[in-house]
């Protein structure tokens, strides 16, 4: 089933700057897809269209058959869960519990069901024991995991992660990868961390200059030197995707 369908999406900012020039992207249920691209390619602009924070100047975004338009916003925002890059932007409530409850509460969930959702989401990211702690007492990696839980609590159909591995130490980065692999949810992951994309996402797409320039198996894209060079994508020193065993296909 098609969870996400973006067709001919164009966006012009109010100051006249055009960020997207007809982007096509589709993600099927159960897929994990990496969205790659250099800085300024329009990745964030694209992400903000997926749940209707920005509305398209042209083209369309459809989530599980529902077009992203003003009347559908509430349901679209339940279906598309965005985890922002800086967990301090996402976690604004006094305690972890309140924060994870924020989304479901906006959807009208109350009482015992709300508690159950909160604990379930925190359990999925291994943070149940921190439920009554203030977010600013947690480590950065823990805050990122709680940020993921705040979105999981809304039972999204697709999880959109903006730079999930940024600022994480290697252990936290690996823990987060384990968590993401264990989730039974469709994932679109925006990242500059190409080894992370290879590890987690069998398929990748490349956005550059406001258009989709590539879509294919992650390993094939990362070993396409011409494509990589043309779009300012670079692998870390000494990293060769050909020598990496990849868990699931790719």
């Amino acid at each position: 089933m098609r969870v996400l369908d973006v067709a001919g999406l164009a966006h012009v900012y109010p100051d006249g700057h055009q960020a997207l020039y007809g982007v096509d992207l589709h993600v099927d249920s159960g897929e994990r897809v990496a969205l790659l691209g250099p800085n300024g390619a329009g990745k964030t602009t694209l992400v903000l269209h997926l749940n209707g924070i920005l509305l398209p100047a042209a083209g369309s975004v459809t989530v599980s058959g529902m077009p992203v338009t003003k009347p559908n916003l509430q349901e679209v925002r339940r279906r598309v869960g965005i985890v922002f890059q800086d967990p301090d932007d996402q976690l604004f409530m006094p305690t972890v519990r309140d924060d994870v409850a924020f989304g479901p509460r906006n959807l009208g969930v109350r009482g015992a069901e709300l508690d159950r959702r909160v604990l379930e989401a925190l359990d999925q990211v291994g943070m149940v024991e921190y439920v009554d702690r203030p977010p600013h007492h947690l480590s950065f990696g823990q805050r990122r995991r709680v940020a993921v839980a705040t979105v999981l609590a809304m039972r999204p159909e697709i999880l959109v992660l903006d730079e999930p591995s940024s600022n994480l130490d290697p252990a936290s980065r690996r823990e987060l990868a384990d968590i993401l692999r264990s989730l039974d949810v469709t994932v679109l992951m925006v990242t500059h961390d190409l080894p992370y994309a290879l590890e987690l996402c069998p398929r990748s797409v490349v956005l550059s200059g406001g258009v989709m320039v590539a879509d294919g198996p992650t390993r094939a894209l990362l070993t396409d030197e011409e494509l990589m060079r043309a779009h300012r994508l670079e692998l870390p020193f000494g990293f060769d995707p050909r020598n990496v065993p990849v868990p699931e296909g790719g």
Partner: protein, 222 residues
């Protein structure tokens, strides 16, 4: 992060004062402060009584008195003002330690100091025995308008984040040899304050986006 456990004003404990409902403590504080302020400035036995009550609550709370006293430095500007009053007030003059001062000024200064100190100590005791977000909850229970409660809870949440950011900016300035001693450097401080303001404003926008993304509908209570 830098804040460690609990807030700087909070003193961890499990006394009955710590456990009391935040909105009861808030009401008690406001009542106490109003009572102190409404007492005539020369009713010294009453002030002694207030101090005794306060001391008893402090003792019950288990917060060391020195912990509270150290934090009364916030009162310093008022102390300075109180010390000036006897010298600038009019009315009958009197002599204290060989210095001629105004008598009503002296009484006024004494009243200001007593009332101020009692109020500050009581407020510090509330802060020491109540976590910031519980204070916000207490205000909510007391039917403070929701937008104000939200603003306060955001302030509580982001005070440390912005404080850390300011600390990092200060470290970065100092690492490039900046010292704030020379008045010629003040524009730099003004510019960092501006940068901090803009960063906080932008953070506010990002937080708002994150809230909208989780289905927050403006006008609803968080």
């Amino acid at each position: 992060m830098g804040a460690g456990h609990g807030h700087r004003l909070h003193y961890h404990g499990h006394s009955p004062v710590h456990r009391a409902e935040p909105h009861h403590k808030l009401l008690a504080l406001v009542g106490f402060v109003l009572l102190v302020v409404a007492t005539p400035g020369d009713a010294y036995p009453f002030f002694a009584g207030y101090l005794a009550v306060l001391a008893a609550v402090v003792a019950r709370s288990g917060v060391p008195p020195s912990y509270l006293l150290k934090r009364t430095v916030v009162e310093l500007p008022f102390v300075v003002f109180a010390l000036i009053v006897p010298f600038v007030s009019r009315g009958p003059q009197t002599e204290v330690w060989g210095v001629t001062v105004s008598e009503p000024g002296l009484v006024a200064a004494g009243a200001l100091l007593m009332k101020g100190t009692l109020g500050v100590l009581a407020s510090l005791l509330l802060a020491a025995t109540t976590e910031p977000h519980d204070v916000v909850r207490g205000l909510e229970r007391l039917r403070m308008p929701a937008p104000l409660v939200q603003i306060l809870s955001f302030m509580v949440r982001y005070l440390d984040v912005v404080g850390d950011e300011m600390g990092r900016m200060r470290t970065a300035l100092a690492s490039r040899g900046f010292t704030a001693r020379n008045p010629r450097h003040w524009p730099v401080i003004a510019r960092s304050a501006g940068a901090l303001f803009i960063r906080s404003y932008e953070r506010g926008e990002r937080v708002h986006l994150a809230m909208l993304s989780r289905g927050h509908a403006p006008g609803e209570r968080a």
